[in-house]
Subunit: 234 residues, 2 copies
Amino acid sequence: MIEQRKAQKSGNPQRIPAVARRPRPARGKDRRDIRESNEARLLQAAETVFAERGYSGATTAAIASAARLPKANLHYYFRTKEALYRAVLANVLALWLDELDRFSPEREPAEALAEYIAAKMRWSKLRPNASKVFANEIVHGAPFLDGYLSRELRQRVERFAAVIRRWIARGKMAPVDPRHFVFHLWAVTQHYADFEVQVRAVLGREKLTDADFAAATAEIVNLTLRGCLPQRPD
Amino acid sequence: MIEQRKAQKSGNPQRIPAVARRPRPARGKDRRDIRESNEARLLQAAETVFAERGYSGATTAAIASAARLPKANLHYYFRTKEALYRAVLANVLALWLDELDRFSPEREPAEALAEYIAAKMRWSKLRPNASKVFANEIVHGAPFLDGYLSRELRQRVERFAAVIRRWIARGKMAPVDPRHFVFHLWAVTQHYADFEVQVRAVLGREKLTDADFAAATAEIVNLTLRGCLPQRPD
DNA sequence: CGAAATATTGACCAAATGGTCAAGATTATC
DNA sequence: GATAATCTTGACCATTTGGTCAATATTTCG
């Protein structure tokens, strides 16, 4: 899988001795805190800059500046720009996969689908840059995703497809192709993050409001459920 | 609007004297031909390279090489990388706008929508790189699109929305929000070009076939029409 | 304390890249 | 054929950028 942020010499970070060795001096200058906080700031700055300018357009200087750290410091925590980028990407992938796992054949399609759409829309609102980094990566042919698409993602989609097929078999959904259906869900929800400027321009908004997202979500749920549930709802 | 490819000293290219002055020597070394063919090759090479690597990632050397021309020649026809990029972009925008204009209140929604979806999917198949260049531009905040989004595009969407509203008023469509509906159409169709690697990975294809596009189109039309047409189709 | 580990940072460098230029080749025009 | 206009291209350059390094500061812990 995607190379996780390099752990320098941090040994096994989970190893906690029987009696806690380091009593946490309470005041914040702990080394672990320093590393954690600096890495977090870099990752968040990187997400923004990569989203705004793409991989090549993003400079380590700009990222460091956004994180309010000297550039040399960035290269201390993440050896290369590529390593930093991969770390950002790994965060997004984890996010994406998790959401797909909430489907199970026992649930009601209408409810499960509405929840998934709402969740994806929430991410589009809260982490638009995460979505943009991912979109950018995919648009350019996924050069850093190695086996993610054909392994992890494909596997999850197959599981999702199995659920959909069972729902169809039980007459709870119209006969749709599960894979194209999942593309459908991804496309319409991520659109609001990835194509945000276009959405704003067309809606005439300076910034997308909560109400805009609520309206978009409702519209998507409505269109999608009408599209894929059996004709007679009851 | 977007700066068109610079016309150097080409005067008015449409002016044709009463008696054709230049009898077209038949063998192809005409200056006009040279310019046309070289510009076309550069534009097409640029579309590919910009799609694959983004604006910053694309180098003029790579574009020139793809067009099988020396780099200095590229800069002869398009003064700067930015000018070349804008020319590529202008082509895509023209494509996109044209399609939206085919809606009119007199048509049947089902037929007009199915045709629009099919047309957009055709573009996703035939010119995926055009779509990718546009997607890339939008994802990064449309830094080169100037007023296009808020002017031309918004205007066309308003016209489209008016048609949709009239259909709704006549009971020919379910009450959807026209703007979110158009986002829906764009998202699902362009997804097959922009996220092509992901689609391929999930479907387990080396390359998307005509059959894949046909299936995708059918699925989208089906889902969308069921989603937006009145409950009793007849 | 004192030595080891970790963190900070300004200065620096090699490679890549957008763009220029001048000299020459080709095509048009009179 | 001569002159002008356009096209072609290798060599070149200034700037940007990812990454290094050595010197210094800070934290950890016996």
